[in-house]
């Protein structure tokens, strides 16, 4: 297994290098350079030239490329043009927020999706299965940002203002305004309450996809000879499903983790915007409107690296669930 994981780790290195290169060329191919966005009437051409030189933009492409690669690998992403802070500090400060949102959504989506998928497979072709399939496909076809708005409409605005439900969820930010004045217990509750709607709207869409996959995978596994063998041993149906079918059905789902990670992050960008969640996605989107290109590039790069790391985790999980990989 160690060999397998080491090999994957080694393979990840050129991918990260390639990602950095790709991001650089995105920038190099764009019309004008970063500084030209700053053009405003009160900057003289000389001053612009000075900024260019400071940022090393007067150098030939290959020098800039090497510098870029060097800085990416050392984690030095330059200075934000709008905030005048090192980009690294900005990102380090908000990365945990994005990870909190994404990880809770991933957990929700996989736990829910797997349970529903298994349930459907066991009830194959019965009413519950068909109903869940249609509902699942409905959520699967939904843009997450729209689902988020609808959830806000019902569980935040409607629940609070119209129907006066006892429970409603906040629709903006990570904490309430009076967060600093709460007791520690209340603080935790407040944070969790703020997490509910964003992670739910991110998770629901993907849980629907995972359930579809899990159902198909389980149906495939249930047809296999070894499940028949397990039945012929006289095992109970629960044991046949839980111990023989489920571990096999999970194998393709692990691949899905690696495959869905980019989708999760894409969704996070939108969801963070809807819920004013101070995370990486919103940072990048804001930076684009402010033409703050070092932040855009760094954010893009970090997202891609997160996906690569996530894929390594998926590989490790893969080796855990499938002995054929472990003993390769």
């Amino acid at each position: 297994m160690t060999v397998f994981l080491l090999r994957r780790l080694v393979q990840a290195v050129p991918i990260v290098l390639g990602i950095a290169t790709l991001v650089f060329f995105l920038l190099a191919l764009a019309p004008g350079d970063a500084v030209s966005f700053l053009v405003s009437p009160n900057i003289t051409p000389e001053a612009l030239e000075q900024i260019r030189r400071n940022m090393g933009l007067d150098q030939p492409v290959h020098i800039r490329y090497l510098r870029w690669m060097g800085s990416m690998l050392t984690g030095d992403f330059g200075i934000s043009l709008t905030r005048n802070e090192p980009v690294r500090d900005i990102i380090l400060a908000i990365l945990p927020n994005t990870l909190t949102l994404s990880l809770s959504a991933i957990l929700l989506a996989f736990a829910g999706g797997i349970l529903i998928g298994v349930f459907q497979a066991v009830r194959h072709n019965r009413l519950a299965d068909s109903a869940l399939s249609v509902i699942g496909l409905f959520f699967y076809s939904m843009p997450s940002f729209w689902l988020a708005l609808m959830l806000i409409l019902v569980f935040s605005l409607g629940a609070r203002n119209l129907w006066e439900w006892p429970i409603w969820f906040p629709a903006s930010g990570m904490t309430s305004v009076d967060y600093p004045f709460m007791s520690p217990g209340e603080q935790i509750r407040d944070r969790l309450a703020h997490l509910v709607l964003p992670s739910l709207s991110l998770a629901l869409v993907l849980a629907a996809g995972i359930a579809r996959y899990m159902r198909a995978s389980m149906l495939e596994v249930i047809r296999q000879d070894y499940v028949r063998t397990a039945r012929s041993k006289g095992l109970s149906e629960f044991r046949v499903i839980a111990r023989h079918a489920l571990p096999n059905g999970l194998i393709p789902i692990v691949t899905l983790l690696g495959l869905y990670l980019p989708t999760f992050f894409s969704g996070a960008v939108l969801i963070e915007t809807v819920f004013a969640w101070p995370g990486m996605g919103r940072l990048v989107v804001d930076a684009i409107f402010q033409r703050d290109y070092p932040v855009v590039m760094a954010g893009t790069f970090i997202f891609a690296v997160l996906v690569v790391i996530g894929n390594l985790v998926a590989d490790a999980l893969y080796a855990i669930v499938d002995p054929r990989i472990r003993y390769e």
Binding site: D225, R228, T229, S232, G234, S236, V321, Y327
Partner: protein, 680 residues
């Protein structure tokens, strides 16, 4: 009281094409300590019968019709609630399945899978169960059971896995073992081991065994009584002697006549015409009627089914014939067909059509250890020649490199080393036009009748494309005429030209494959396991076709198979391969009568005979262990670790034994221990 008594079992499936009556009124019984064999071609309902006894038929679409009874000792299984039925499975009836590769759970260790069955009983706690599982592994002949206990199925060979399956089945000491094609996926030497194991265990535990197989040889070898199934019904039952020595039902007789025999060479087979019909459309009356050579008006009515059929000591035949003495006599005469003329090998002086010298094909494999570039020596120095009009049989177990050799000869894969000369031309240096010319002169027929035809082309498109590309029939009309002619040659109808591959049965597809090979009018055809995917009766049809074509068109065959009986039937000369090398070659009669190499001799002794008693047979030589991986073959003689020859010693590991003369008429064998002995 019989151990198992099945009465009037009907298991039907609801499909899109109607109700498939997979099992349709089957009655039989199994006694304690008795082995009952069920034989029949695929689609006859054998497996569904077994699954019905276990109540493992998936419902829906399947259902067991009311009125049936399955009694195990004194209990009626069909009336048991699900929970009680689960207690029966494993404890009283256990089952071994056909595919050892897929029947074990890939994510659990084999030990866990055995222990699971043991713990279930509640009598054993975890540690004791573990010890019992290890003991079981030893009992089914797994070497080093303590270590194997913690291994996963993918780390074991096919034979080992089937032993594990048997260990699981035996865990709770059931009174009845159902074995569904337990050896079909295994090589013949491994098959012999497994059959031997089942027989020993049955003896030791006084189990009843219900053995399901399509292989008449296996049944003849191990069964006490035989049930012959056709179209969801038992058409004949009796003791092994009765069935094999005096078969009464035309289907049983047809099956036996379809079978190539080890004792007879080059006799034309008498196959059953046609194909097994679809289970949703069994014919009315006697279901065998459309294929039966003796059918007459009376066969329009269903023949009498013996109500208590299949009891020990009872002989049943579901046929009208035995009631009609005159017709019976005529039928018996038809069954023995006259021998047909064989191929006529050219004079020995003529240069061979194909000459292969030192052919090697190595495949690189990625090794786990860094830097260690491993290769699989699939073909490792193979030399032979084939004369015009002759058939060379190339026989060996799976993984011995016979198919790779065939593809390398045709340059479908590039050989690593060696010389190939076809009609005097050097094949390896050919390219462009020369290679295209070779493709017109040498053709290949594949094993898999499903994968070898493009599913999106009609037969006419397929053949027409070839004729057009090679400029054999440029005009539309001549092309069409030629295509119909080709179809006629291989025994298909003109109407088949517009059809797609999925509309044909396996045997018909194989005929299309033959027509395709013939379309370029080749001299040599390489037949790569052309009949191994086919049922016995269809296999005989295709073998006869190939043989007739050889006579009419003067073809030369390189015939590759793992089946020694088929090879004996078609070949003039035979070469035996083991792990990439030819170990023995001789004329067909010499090889089958006076085999010299220890591997060939054990191979021949391992084949189950269809002549149950009567024919004298040599002592069976059971080989130990598995075939080694071609990525890491043993040094020197590849066979020496499994060799039983008394003279085996250190010298065998020293170097590759050369193929040396070992008898008259070109008989050669690769064994240094034969040097002193005199060839017969």
């Amino acid at each position: 009281m019989p151990l198992l008594e099945v009465t009037a079992l009907r298991t039907h499936f609801d499909t899109d094409g109607g109700t498939a009556r997979a099992v349709d009124g089957v009655s039989f019984s199994v006694e304690e300590g008795e082995t009952v064999g069920i034989v029949g071609e695929s689609g006859c309902g054998k497996t569904v019968t077994a699954l019905s006894i276990m109540r493992l038929v998936p419902e829906p679409p399947g259902r067991i019709l009311p009125g049936a009874s399955i009694r195990l000792r004194d209990r009626e299984l069909l009336e048991l609630p699900d929970r009680a039925m689960r207690e029966v499975r494993g404890r009283e009836v256990a089952m071994v399945f056909q595919e050892p590769m897929t029947s074990l759970n890939p994510v659990l260790t084999v030990g866990d899978q055995i222990r699971e069955a043991l713990v279930l009983d509640g009598r054993l706690d975890g540690r004791r169960a573990r010890r019992a599982a290890v003991r079981l592994l030893g009992e089914v002949g797994i070497p080093d059971p303590g270590t194997r206990y913690a291994e996963y199925p993918h780390q074991l060979s096919g034979g080992m896995r089937q032993r594990i399956m048997i260990a699981i089945a035996l865990a709770l000491e059931p009174g009845l073992l159902i074995a569904d094609e337990p050896t079909t996926a295994l090589d013949v030497t491994i098959q012999a081991q497994i059959l031997d194991l089942i027989a020993k265990l049955r003896e030791r535990r006084r189990m009843g065994v219900l053995l399901i197989t399509h292989d008449l040889g296996v049944v003849a070898e191990v069964a006490d009584r035989v049930l012959v199934m056709y179209a969801g019904q038992i058409v004949e039952s009796g003791t092994v002697r009765e069935i094999f020595l005096s078969p009464r039902h035309p289907y049983t007789r047809g099956l036996l006549a379809s079978l190539p025999r080890l004792s007879v060479t080059r006799k034309r087979l008498s196959p059953i015409p046609g194909y097994v019909p679809d289970a949703a459309a069994w014919p009315d009356g006697c279901r065998f009627r459309p294929r039966c050579p003796h059918a007459w008006e009376k066969c329009g009515e269903p023949p009498p089914a013996s109500p208590s059929g299949g009891r020990p000591g009872e002989r049943t035949v579901r046929c009208w014939l035995p009631d009609e003495p005159e017709r019976r006599g005529a039928a018996a005469r038809v069954a023995t067909a006259a021998p047909a003329p064989g191929g006529k090998p050219a004079e020995a002086e003529e240069p061979p059509l194909l000459r292969v010298r030192g052919l090697r094909k190595y495949f690189p494999v990625r090794s786990q250890r860094r830097g260690n570039r491993a290769v699989v020596r699939a073909v490792d120095g193979v030399s032979f020649e084939i004369r015009r009009g002759e058939t060379l049989g190339l026989v060996g177990e799976s993984g011995c490199g016979k198919s790779t050799a065939a593809r390398a000869i045709l340059r479908l894969i590039e050989p690593t080393e060696g010389a190939i000369s076809f009609g005097g031309d050097d094949v390896r240096s050919m390219n462009g036009d020369a290679l295209r010319r070779l493709r017109r002169q040498a053709q290949i027929i594949f094993q898999d009748p499903f994968g070898s035809l493009n599913p999106r082309m009609t037969v006419e498109d397929m053949l027409g494309e070839i004729l057009k590309v090679h400029g054999l029939a440029t005009e539309r009309n001549t092309r069409r005429r030629r295509i119909l002619e080709l179809l006629d040659i291989v025994g298909l109808l003109p109407g088949h030209a517009d059809r797609y591959p999925h509309e044909f049965s396996g045997g018909q597809r194989q005929r299309i494959g033959i027509a395709r090979a013939l379309s370029v009018e080749p001299e040599l055809i390489i037949c790569d396991e052309p009949v191994s995917a086919l049922d016995v009766s269809v296999q005989a049809q295709v073998l006869n076709l190939l043989r007739d074509l050889q006579g009419e068109l003067g073809l030369t065959y390189l015939f590759i198979s793992h089946d020694l009986a088929v090879i004996r039937h078609v070949s003039d000369r035979v070469a035996v391969m083991y792990l990439g090398r030819i170990v023995e070659t001789a004329s067909v009669t010499r090889l089958y009568r006076h085999a010299r190499h220890p591997y060939t001799r054990s191979l021949l002794s391992a084949i189950p005979r269809t002549e149950p008693q009567g024919a004298a047979r040599a002592e069976r030589i059971l080989l130990e262990g598995d075939i080694p991986s071609p990525a890491a073959p043993p040094p020197g003689c590849h066979f020496h670790p499994r060799c039983w020859h008394p003279g085996r010693d250190q010298a065998c590991t020293a170097g590759i034994p050369p193929l040396e003369p070992a008898g008259r008429r070109g008989h050669r064998a690769a064994c240094i221990k034969l040097r002193g002995e005199s060839g017969a």
